[in-house]
């Protein structure tokens, strides 16, 4: 289908995408603080640069220069590796998300995603599961009971919601008849955007996704105001920053995945001639979704832990299962 990309095109492409994701991460934090501020009748950051636009850079400089303090009794190798694993897998997950149709420049071909593997959806979930190891191991190796309890909370929540998350995309996979994200996007182009037939799947996916990225109202892993910061209690400086990076990149990946699975990825609705500007439409849709998640954070109170577990296992999981079964039946018999 797609001619293979040569490595000297793929390498710079990956480099550019990684850096763009990092920039997107930096300005997601800015956007979140700004939007949250406005929703609470505050300005948000407005000192560093115009509209506080240099705030993420100032934060980065501050975090890098800050002493990375570590307790004397940490288990050193996992303690240092944990944030790197979390951040690395979060970044890797973005590599399979298609952001454009692919472009032909003279007789070379530039792919629409960094890599195009047949099971890209499963790859994303697998990478997400590995990323959870970072949170668990980070909490354990800190050798602090609060970190350990925090990582247990994180572990229980992420494992619970990952089930619903995986089941909710099953409907999309059945309708798209592929595990390849590029194929799913192409299928939506010829049929219908999957958020219409799969609105239940979308709701479950987004709710599960908020829990999976441990953002409010499901931010029990951190719960800054009530509990000690959770698995990253004993982290500071840029090691803590990497955990934070992982969290925000997970959010971006989640939004990118939602766009890809339910909102037709990089396609512009109706006007096919605009498809070659795919990344722009992709970013636009991504931005809208990120705003929705910020809006959710500003609006809803945090769930209690038993409510969280009950919601995950007794509400989300049955709905996701029924949705998958019904979709399967409809796909077979219609």
């Amino acid at each position: 289908m797609h001619p293979a990309e040569t490595w000297w095109i793929a390498l710079p492409e990956a480099f550019i995408v990684i850096n763009l994701v990092m920039v997107a991460f930096a300005y997601t934090t800015w956007l979140e603080r700004k939007a949250l501020g406005r929703m609470q009748l505050r300005y948000g950051p407005n000192r560093a640069g115009p509209f506080g636009l240099l705030q993420p850079i100032a934060d980065l400089i501050k975090l890098v220069r800050k002493e990375a303090f570590a307790p004397a009794s940490v288990v050193e190798i996992p303690y240092i590796a944990a944030p790197i694993v979390s951040c690395g897998t979060a970044l890797l997950a973005f590599s399979v998300i298609p952001f454009g149709p692919g472009w032909k420049v003279s007789h070379y071909y530039i792919n629409g995603s960094v890599v195009n593997v047949p099971i890209s959806l499963i790859l994303i979930f697998a990478l997400g599961s590995i990323g959870i190891y970072g949170f668990i191991v980070g909490g354990w190796s800190s050798d602090s009971k609060y970190s350990l309890l925090g990582s247990m909370r994180t572990c229980a929540q992420l494992v619970s919601y990952e089930v619903s998350l995986a089941l909710s995309v099953l409907g999309v996979v059945l309708m798209g008849q592929s595990l390849n994200l590029t194929d799913i996007v192409a299928k939506q182009q010829t049929t219908v955007w999957f958020f219409l037939p799969q609105f239940v799947g979308l709701a479950v996916f987004m709710l599960g996704g908020v829990a999976e990225t441990s953002r409010p109202p499901f931010d029990l892993p951190e719960a800054d105001t009530e509990l000690v910061a959770g698995y990253h209690t004993e982290y500071s400086g840029m090691r803590w920053g990497l955990f934070q990076t992982a969290e925000y990149i997970n959010l971006i990946v989640l939004c990118g995945l939602t766009v890809t699975l339910f909102f037709d990825g990089w396609h512009f609705p109706w006007v096919h001639s605009l498809d070659k500007f795919g990344p722009i439409w992709f970013l636009l849709k991504l931005g809208i979704l990120v705003n929705v998640f910020i809006w959710l954070r500003a609006s809803q109170p945090r769930l209690r832990y038993d409510q969280l577990m009950r919601f995950g296992w007794k509400v989300l999981l049955p709905i996701a299962t029924v949705n998958a079964v019904v979709t399967a039946a409809l796909v077979v018999w219609i």
């Binding site: 929703m39 505050r42 300005y43 609006s299």
Partner: protein
């Protein structure tokens, strides 16, 4: 469950409504809200109209200070070195601002209304040593000034020792 779902969406409406309002944040260094006229800030030592210091070095302020941040060393006035109106004067008068809790007991204890608490609160420094205010600094008017609200706006009058010193 019947009210949970609509109420959840109501929450979204509430937050969205705020976006279109003007933030109520006061941008502090640019805009300084006028403070209450009886706000207790940086201290001030006072002189009589004839230039003599009101402080007679009695150390009652130091005795009253719960934070123990005032240090007074008194000396005798002589005919050729008359500093205060009384028999003695404060040769050294220091307030350690990093210890002071701005309770105002010193100005209550002072029998001559020599020390009062002003309104200035922007007295942070980069160095702890700079926070030890000497007598010269306390006698001089404060460098930074903060806007103070009109006392007439408030129903509690200023105490005598604030209006007459």
């Amino acid at each position: 469950m019947t009210t949970l779902v609509p109420n959840t969406f109501k929450g979204f409406g509430v937050t969205l409504k705020q976006v279109f309002k003007k933030p109520i944040t006061q941008q502090y260094p640019e805009y300084k809200r006028p403070i209450y006229p009886r706000f207790r800030g940086r201290h001030r030592l006072w002189r009589h109209e004839n230039g003599l210091e009101k402080c007679v070095g009695c150390s009652l302020c130091a005795a009253a200070c719960p934070a123990d941040c005032i240090r007074v060393v008194a000396a005798e006035n002589t005919a050729d070195n008359r500093v205060s109106a009384g028999e003695r004067y404060a040769r050294i008068y220091e307030i350690n601002m990093s210890r002071c809790i701005f309770c105002g007991y010193c100005e209550l204890a002072c029998p001559f209304d020599a020390i009062t608490l002003g309104n200035e609160f922007e007295i942070s420094e980069y160095n702890r040593d700079d926070l030890i205010y000497t007598k010269d600094m306390l006698l001089a008017p404060p460098i930074k000034r903060v806007p103070v609200a009109d006392p007439a706006l408030y129903d509690t009058p200023l105490p005598y020792y604030r209006t007459h010193s």
